[in-house]
């Protein structure tokens, strides 16, 4: 724990398609006045920014884990920190790097090395959200009291996060991600060798090349015009991603995950990421980075539609994702919670969503709980896990008798879970302590009950030890999608 009990030292590490960076930040924690309120992170200050380094690869498919570990070690040393000084944070593997064969062991290794409670994470949606918080787009949405999109264009992917900044849409004061939209479009999808020949074309770029029937081949000197056409086609996809639906079939082909069904009216657009930052100021030599990034940025900049967008300056561009990982990945639970402190920290706890129980009573309360646990068993080998988490969207009215019924149903459903496996119950309403008390009286399983957190099915949780003086635990809600 940091010397100052009111602040947490947080590290963010982004292992991206092209580059790897580290930031160290201080998160200041305050419990708002009023007696009933829970603590919040009120200030996020970046204390150290590591240099931008090329992500080391052993070969096209394998990340150099030792190389990345050495970078992180050097950066922490430069920041004057031992891993034991680091309270929280996240390592995220992003873009094409997330698809490398050893991406998963990489993040877990780096997370374990970097500090006492650093979460490992991967997934385009999370990446989009962190980039948008890191770039300042979420803050702009709050300032504008409106809807702002962050478009993070990197080496391998383009990730859009759309923030709902209206105060009535916030959760515990935090600007909410309304949706994310992700696409396999990035500057590094086409690389050049030292002589200006094409070194490689990644599959998503290949799909565009084929669709447009462009004469581009590996080891050939490309025609500038043809490259520009490819960059324009990519820019079209980025524009379509933001302006749709409807979406062009090519956009659908390159999309990562689901695309939304409804278009959104935006009050602002922020570009971030290694390529995104060039949209505002393209390099004089478009090939300066040895890839298509310069041309892609220029094509986006010159796009007729982009010119009509309400563009906003980012607070961070190149480092948006890592700043997001370092400053915005940690949230705090409610103040009144129920813990067995020696269970903590818990890492990589998969979440299943039980849903809304408000309309259910008696034995019918067990059905959604048992259904959720069955799904959990399908997806995971329970003995491999640290713990499992059940998220209850709504327990119904906060009445003592009602909560007793919820506790009864939980106890009955959890009979199917090995007694040695800790269970985390996450509720949205402020009732974790009383629910914990009711559960404790009913059986003696290892339990953690947390409240005032928003989690979704398929998320993972890392749960840290209580913050000094605040009776609350730091939680990283994340995904592990490789």
């Amino acid at each position: 724990m940091s010397a100052d009990p009111e602040s947490l030292t947080s590290v963010g590490i982004d292992v991206g398609t092209t580059t790897t960076h580290t930031v160290v930040s201080r998160l200041r924690v305050e419990t708002p006045p009023g007696g009933a309120a829970s603590p919040e992170i009120v200030d996020r200050e970046i204390a150290f920014r590591g240099p931008v380094r090329e992500t080391p690869l052993l070969d096209r498919e394998t990340i150099d884990v030792e190389g990345v570990a050495a970078f992180v070690e050097r950066d922490l040393e430069a920041a004057g920190l031992e891993p034991a000084d680091v309270d929280t944070g996240a390592v995220i593997v992003t873009g094409e790097t997330a698809r490398r064969e050893n991406a998963e062991p990489l993040v877990h290794r780096i997370a374990a090395d970097a500090g006492r409670f650093v979460a490992a994470a991967a997934g385009a949606e999370l990446e989009a959200a962190l980039a948008g918080r890191g770039s300042g787009a979420a803050g702009r949405a709050a300032d504008l009291d409106g809807v702002v999109a962050n478009v993070d264009v990197g080496g391998g992917t383009t990730n859009v996060a759309i923030f709902e900044g209206r105060s009535d849409g916030r959760e515990r004061g935090r600007v909410r991600v309304r949706e994310t939209r992700c696409l396999d479009v990035g500057g590094r999808l086409v690389r050049f060798d030292g002589d200006g020949r094409i070194g490689s074309i990644s599959p998503p770029a290949e799909a565009l090349v084929e669709a447009l029937e462009l004469p581009l081949d590996v080891d050939e000197h490309p025609d500038h015009e043809t490259l520009a056409m490819l960059a324009e086609a990519m820019a079209d996809r980025v524009v379509d991603l933001l302006e749709g639906p409807p979406f062009d079939p090519l956009t659908r082909e390159l999309a990562i995950g689901e695309l939304p069904a409804e278009p959104v009216t935006l009050d602002g657009v922020v570009f971030s990421g290694g390529v995104g930052r060039l949209v505002d100021s393209p390099p004089a030599d478009p090939f300066a980075y040895g890839d298509l990034g310069g041309l892609l940025a220029a094509a986006v900049r010159e796009h007729e539609r982009v010119r009509s967008w309400p563009l906003l300056e980012p607070a961070e561009d190149l480092r948006a994702t890592v700043v997001g990982a370092g400053t915005e990945s940690t949230t705090l639970s409610g103040r009144t919670i129920s813990l067995e402190a020696d269970l903590l920290p818990l890492r990589n706890v998969p979440v299943v969503d039980v849903g809304d129980l408000a309309g259910l009573g008696g034995s019918r309360l067990c059905d959604p709980l048992e259904g959720a646990l069955a799904r959990l068993r399908e997806l995971h080998d329970l003995p491999d896990l640290d713990a499992v988490a059940l998220a209850i969207e709504n327990v119904g009215p906060l009445e003592y008798e009602r909560l007793g019924s919820i506790a009864d149903a939980l106890v009955s459903a959890l009979e199917s879970v090995p007694p040695s496996l800790p269970v985390v119950v996450v509720v949205r309403q402020n009732c974790a302590k009383v629910l914990g008390q009711l559960l404790e009286r009913r059986h003696d399983r290892s339990l953690v009950v947390l409240d005032e957190l928003a989690v979704r099915d398929g998320d993972y949780l890392d749960v840290g030890t209580p913050i000094t003086g605040h009776d609350s635990v730091p939680v990283v809600v994340k995904t592990l999608a490789f």
Binding site: A36, D145, T336, Y400, A432, R441
Partner: protein, 267 residues
């Protein structure tokens, strides 16, 4: 307050009349609604001439009426019976005197002292005292949910609880008298807070280790803002269980227990 713009009139309108459906007006309406919605204060209420609109005025009076009623009404006998509370009284004669003489609300009358000895279990670890304080509505709204969570939780920790009492016209410090008489290890006072216009149903819990008449306010711990829109009463019950366990273990309360005891408010 829109003035009609009549093209035939000689007098110029004070303000150009805006088309009510214009984008600018709608954006303005939207902005005003957002200000009103996000603020707990009474913003965006509009005006009639220099005065508030009739709606805003009556809404204010309605909220004040609820707050006044919370101060002046008493907790119902039905609730006291349902919760199985032994009913006691302070030396205060009526509500008017209760408001003007806080000193009289800290001591039990003779009958109550006798009843305490006759009907209440002596020397418990925890003695619970419920008082209407400045809001009977707060007691009615919260104690039925809070008390079972508190009693069950204490039982789960094997902490002995005395016979819970209700003290009419009680101030916070009447728990010192009750606790001292019964020789309780610690006392919890559940008491209605001074009502505001936003809610008249906020309850506070004050706790003291080693209750003794005249003990300083700083020796008391407090959990405040207990109501549905603040700390839910069931959750408050469970929190009090933890706090009581901590007090009994440390044999202390208030500033002796935690230096930075949460924001402390006297009634």
């Amino acid at each position: 307050m829109a003035s009609d713009s009549n093209p035939d009139s000689d007098t110029e309108p004070l303000e150009p009349t805006a088309d009510p459906d214009s984008d600018a007006d709608q954006a303005n309406e939207e902005a005003l609604r957002r200000i009103a919605d996000r603020n707990p204060t009474r913003l965006g209420v509009g005006r009639s001439g220099p005065r508030p609109t009739t709606d805003a005025l009556l809404e204010f009076r309605a909220d004040h009426g609820v707050a006044r009623d919370a101060v002046h009404s008493r907790v119902s006998d039905g609730l006291i019976d349902d919760l199985g509370l032994v009913e006691l009284r302070t030396t205060v004669a009526d509500t008017d005197q209760y408001l003007a003489r806080p000193d009289l609300g800290r001591e039990l009358d003779a009958d109550s002292l006798e009843r305490l000895e006759r009907e209440c279990e002596p020397a418990p670890e925890v003695q619970i005292v419920v008082s209407d304080g400045l809001s009977s509505s707060a007691v009615e709204a919260n104690v039925p949910q809070l008390l079972p969570a508190l009693l069950d939780g204490l039982e789960g920790r094997d902490i002995s609880v005395g016979t819970p009492v209700f003290v009419e016209f009680g101030r916070v410090d009447v728990m010192d008298a009750v606790g001292e008489e019964l020789e309780a290890d610690c006392c919890v006072s559940l008491i209605g807070e001074r009502p505001g216009l936003r809610t008249a149903e906020s309850l506070s819990a004050y706790l003291v280790y080693g209750p003794k008449r005249g003990s300083a306010t700083a020796k008391k711990s407090v959990v405040s803002n207990i109501h549905d829109g603040g700390l839910p009463p069931v959750e408050a019950g469970a929190e009090l269980v933890d706090l009581i366990a901590e007090m009994l273990a440390a044999e202390a309360s208030g500033v002796d227990l935690r230096e930075d005891d949460r924001e402390f408010r006297t009634e």
